[in-house]
Structures are given as C-alpha cells and as structure tokens.
Subunit: 403 residues, 2 copies
C-alpha cells in the first residue's frame, strides 16, 4: 500500500452515482423465484382475497342466523377442494377444514369441538355471528391495495405473502451482473492441501479469502446483485485486463481486489481509466472507482477487512443505485420498544413497522386479521411473551426490510 496522497472524501461517491447506468431491463418472473429481486412495478392485486368466505377452523359451516339449531350433515369441503356445486339449504351443514372456502348458503364455522354430532345431524347449542371463525372475502387483501412498491427488494416474507393471495408473477428488474477478480502472485487458491497451504503462509504466501468475503457480503446484503464470475488471477496484467473488459462488455460492473497500491502491480491504475483513486477511509485507503460507459470498476485492497470496508462505503451505494433499490432486505434480530400494549395469554408473533427516534428503535404493531405477511409498510415481526407485553416494553424483532 502506498502512502496515497490527495485521498478523496467519501462524499465524492455521490458524484459517481449520476454517471452510473441504472438497470432498465424488466422481467416478469414467477413469485417463487423472485427472492432478492427488485420490484419494477408496484404489486397490486386485481382481486380480493379470499374470493369467498374461508374457514379459519375445522368445523361445521352453517348460516349464523340459524344458530342455535340442529343441522343435517350433507357434505365435506377440505382445504384445496373446490365445491361450488355444494349449496347448503336451510337446516343443512357441511364439514369444512381450515382454509376451505365455505359452501354457498353458509357464512360461519362452528368449531368441531363445540358441535355435537348425532348420527347424520349436528347439534349447535349456542348463537354464532356471521363470519365467526371465518376469514371474510377480501380480509387478506383488497383489490387495488399496493402490496409491494417499486424499488423494494423482495424478501421471503413477501414471497409467502404474495403466493398466499394468488399473486404468482411479479415484474422485476434484472439483477446487476458483477465480475469479481482477485489479483496477486502471492495468492494460494483453495482447494489445496491445508498442510501445504499452512506452510506457504509461513513463507509469506496468502490464502485467497478477500474475494470470498466480498462475495459473502454481496450475497448476504445485496441479493439484487448477481455474481456473474469470480476468478483468482495472478499479477499478469494482460490477463486481468482481458477479464475486466469481458466483465464490462457482458456485465454491469467489475470489482478488482488486490494490487491496489504500488504502481508496478496496481492493475486498477494500469488500466488507465479516469476515476477516483484512494479515499479517506481506514483501512481501505487504496479503494478506487472509475466509470466507463456508465459501468463502474472498483479497485479494492487485497486485505479482507479493508476490501470489505470499501464494499460498504463505495461499492454498495453504487450498485444499489444501479439496481433501483429503495428498500433493502434485512435479516436482523434486534430489540425495539413496542409502542402499544399487545395483550394476550399466548406468546405471539406480531407484524410491526419500525421507526427510530433519537437512537431508540420503536416497533408499532400493524393490526391484521390474517397472517399473510406482505405489506408495503411492514419491516419485521416482533415476539411477545405469554401474558402479553405493555407499551414501552423491549421486544425482540426479526427485521426483514430496512425501515
């Protein structure tokens, strides 16, 4: 590493962003394959869900107005079955399992345990109200509701939530295609014999792990980036140059690790692109970036943590911008202060919206009847204790989207 002079302030990254070509290719893909992609068009259902009243418990479907009463058992509807042929007449009932659409002529489910079966008849000895133990039509989602906004990175919670209401395709941006090149004649590339590698480290060689750490960070925090190629090269500059040019021609960005320092093996420098060379950051001073025809080339240190620092400060903001991301995914377990009482004898999982005020994170429960978890405004799920929690209590929250 050189004592680089004229280092750039980190704020200079902002000058790079407008030069970058953002991804404009939009694809329509199955929802089950959409994890990590960026929503290109607001996701808005064209129908209410459920389309018909749906059983929330196993039991007997009846017309609430006829309760209490004695009903003739005329059929069964299990979840997944479509029984629009079954129409209940006055004084009739059908067995339904949780998730099944209620047969026409019924609006309520009497839980199995509460009903008394007498031969072919079911006796219900108390009054039930319409939609008791039922998810009414549209209770999961209403036609026209924005379930996910353009720019949101799709999380596992979104996938299950969309599939739950029958949204099976989404319009997404193509992922940002990145090539990672680790350089350095000193590098040992696994798999190798561990004993031999250990001996070589004692002799000054280095086991490649920088590009692997960079790839881990990208895969974990930037799923909207596709690592198109990851190679370990020596310091033969012509070979490095060839892979860089291929990465630019066939992808959107190139990351070079190592050799960012002394001019004789500084591949980034030797490529001759104009850009920002060196930033006021420690470690990672040699971090560099140039933009060629709207595509960035990043030069990172060969040291793992220095390179990671460069990724966090320089690479991530640039690629996130290219990917059109407004909301990144998260997979954090954090603690937050709950803003409302959540009563309840049972331990619960509650969908929450997060906000930060003067360094304290607050979790506000989002009330919903169903458990489908796609909501443009939700950031995570909070765990409560048996007996409930009080406003002001600190609760663990699994955060799946940045707030």
């Amino acid at each position: 590493m050189k004592y680089l002079t004229n280092l750039n302030p980190l704020s200079k990254v902002a000058e790079i962003l407008p030069q970058l070509k953002t991804i404009s290719d939009v694809e329509k893909i199955p929802t089950w394959d959409a994890l990590g992609y960026v929503v290109a068009r607001d996701v808005v259902p064209t129908h209410d869900y459920p389309p018909h009243p749906r059983a929330a418990y196993d039991g007997y479907a009846v017309n609430a107005e006829a309760t209490p009463g004695k009903f003739k058992l005329v059929g069964t509807v299990l979840v997944g079955q479509y029984r629009r042929d079954l129409v209940l007449k006055e004084g009739e009932t059908a067995y339904v399992s949780v998730g099944a659409f209620l047969p026409e002529g019924s609006d309520t489910v009497v839980p199995e345990e509460v009903a008394k079966v007498e031969g072919n008849y079911v006796v219900i000895d108390r009054k039930f109200e319409k939609y008791d133990n039922v998810d009414p039509p549209g209770s999961y989602v209403r036609k026209g509701t924005v379930m996910l906004k353009q720019g949101t990175v799709i999380t596992p919670f979104d996938v299950v939530g969309l599939l739950d209401v029958g949204i099976t395709t989404v319009h997404v941006y193509r992922k940002v295609a990145v090539t990672i090149i680790a350089t350095g004649d000193e590098l040992i590339t696994p798999p190798v014999d561990p004993e031999v590698a250990a001996e070589l480290v004692q002799r000054g060689m280095v086991i490649e792990s920088t590009a692997s750490l960079v790839a881990w960070y990208i895969q974990t925090f930037m799923p909207y980036v596709e690592i198109r190629k990851k190679v370990v090269l020596g310091d033969k500059h012509e070979e490095v140059k060839r892979v860089v040019e291929d990465g630019l021609a066939n992808g959107d960005a190139v990351i070079i690790t190592g050799g960012a320092g002394p001019s004789e093996i500084d591949h980034f420098y030797k490529l001759g692109y104009a850009g920002l060379r060196g930033f006021r950051m420690k470690p990672g001073r040699p971090t560099s970036v140039a933009v060629v025809n709207g595509k960035p080339i990043f030069g990172l240190s060969g040291y793992p943590i220095s390179a990671l620092h460069g990724v966090i400060r320089i690479v991530e903001p640039a690629l996130r911008h290219m990917a059109n991301v407004t909301k990144s995914p998260r997979h954090d377990w954090i603690y937050a202060v709950i803003t409302q009482d959540v009563p309840g004898e049972m331990a619960q999982v509650v969908r929450v919206k997060l906000s930060t005020v003067e360094g304290t994170i607050y979790a506000t429960p989002i009330k919903v009847k169903h458990h489908s978890f796609t909501d443009a405004d939700a950031h995570g799920v909070a765990l409560t204790l048996s007996g409930g929690v009080k406003r002001g209590d600190v609760v663990p929250v699994l955060v799946y989207r940045e707030s």
Copy 2:
C-alpha cells in the same frame, strides 16, 4: 386447525432438551470450507504470526539505527516471496511491498514516498524507529491465544482471520441433518405455470411456500443445520411415515409442515409418537414435538408465518442444543452507542465487543494493530465518520456474532 386444548407452555421446551442427542462426531476440515460449522475444539495457533517482521507499506527495508543515512539497494522482496537468502549488511536496503517479510538485517520500512532514490542508492533524510511501518512478529496473533472457542459458529470474519495467520484446518462438529416434509393434498409445488397456479389459488389450492420459508430461516440463522432433504408430499400417510422413518434413520431430526390439526390428516398425531402437542403461542398453536431415540420430530402448522413462529420458539432452541452451539452467527446492521472516543481524520471500521445494559446496546472498540478479524471476544465492526466519533455517539455496527 382444531381448538386445541391443554396447550403446553413454551417453557416446556426446556424439558425436551435433555432428551436430545447432541452431535458428537468431530471432523477436521479446511478452514475455507468451515463457514457455519460449530467449533469442536478451541482454535489455538501453535505459532506467532507473523513469524517475521512484515512490511505494512511499500518502501525500503532498513535497520532503524542506521537512519538517517544513504543505503545501497541490493534487492527486492514482494509479498508472497520467501527471501531468507537475502541478508542485508550495514548500509544496505531492499525494496519491499506491503505484506512481505523483511529481509534479515532490517527492522523498519521507510515508505517509498519518503525515500529519495539516487541511482543504486536510497537516501533517507530522517530518523525512523524500530518496527515503524512494520507488523512485528506475533502482532497478528500470539501462539497459545484462544482465537475461537468451542461452541462458536464460524463466521466469514473468522474464516478470513484464521486463514490470515495460516490456520488452515479446524475441528468442527458434523452439522445437524434435518429432513423437511411439507404435507397436504391442497399443495401446488413450483415450478408450475404461474397462470395455472393463480387460477388454482382462486379455487382454494395453496402454493407450497411454508417449507421454503422454514428452509430459508434455517439456512440464514442456523447454518449449523444441513437440510438433508426437503420434499412436498400429499396427505397419503403411509408415504409421509416412510419419509419420516428414513429421516430419523439417516439423519438427526425431522420437520413436518401442514396437517397439524384435524385428526384425520394430522400426520404428526397419526405417527403415534408421545410428545408435546400444541403450545401456547399464536399463531402456531398446533406446533408439536416428540423425541424418538434422542432425535426430535417437529410438527408445524401449514401456514407460513405460523410455521416460522414454531421454528423460532421450538425448533431453533432444540437444534441449536443438538449442534452444541454457544454463540450463533449474526448478520445484522444495528446501531449502538460507542463507549470510547475513536479519533481520526478518516472514516474507519473498528472491531467491537457488544453489551446490552437496560435495553441499550453499547459497542466497545477492541484495539488491535492489524486488521485480521478473528477474536473470540469480538461481535462486530463499527463504522465511524470522518473526523472520528465521541464516546456516547451512535454508530452503525455490522454484527457477525451474537453477544
């Protein structure tokens, strides 16, 4: 879902743990393959690292006592080269690149920019101290230091830190082998035609996503678990039973999703194992667990979020116990209060130890000369601003290990 009665309190999970067979198989594997494994023996280096003084900058290796002075340039050592043949005599210097071991006869590096080259000679016009711009022997790690404790799940930071000092193998526990079985005749299993799937959802069918969400959680938060098999079955109980028995015979645990409710399609119930059926949690009441010969079988709801709740409350504590985990990995971006001033003109990344006092998370910087990041006591890295941060400031922290 039945109105289950006699639900178990969550605290009953503690009674299950002693019945579980913990993993005792220990394997010695290459460090570069060790991500997510659990350390079975404390990782303790048998040597200091670096073994010799190592250049921290590109420049000229000299004996500090001879500075200022004029030195004859007699050779070059680049990182990765092993030049124990090169011995500097009085008045001699060699060019070294960052990471290179210093040739014998030198103890200091004069940065390239500070030296004046005159033909075959290098003029140094100021005084340098021993080990200036050098990582002294043992400065990365000392022989005998516990770098990772038994029970720690290996993170990407540990991999790079261990490789950096030449620790190329680790003793780890075999991963916990789990079979996941999604059941239900109502399930549609992708890949299918999305338009057809959407239509089937309108008719009451369900696109399988519960087992996928469970698998995502396991892969993200429990890397010490290997998903040996993940299958979607209908409600043919004999088939479910066969896969359960195979999962127990050839693995360590089985997870069944769906059908946890009405007795006629409750596979968990029909298997006939004694155990805990139903917990005081919402959603996810039907969550169940039985232990057969030290191996757990979990019954989870068919609803994605209910199943996830069961994983968090019941499955994770059990499998974590079986895996011998004392410290789980994390990949959280959180905010914490820094406990010391971190001065510095440059934006920095600083290794920290986390602690929580009355709901506030504190980050205490761990001072180290080098940037290798394996440390049994470290939990994350904090980002500071240009100009430094003051004690009490809130800083972002990338957490990689639970505190």
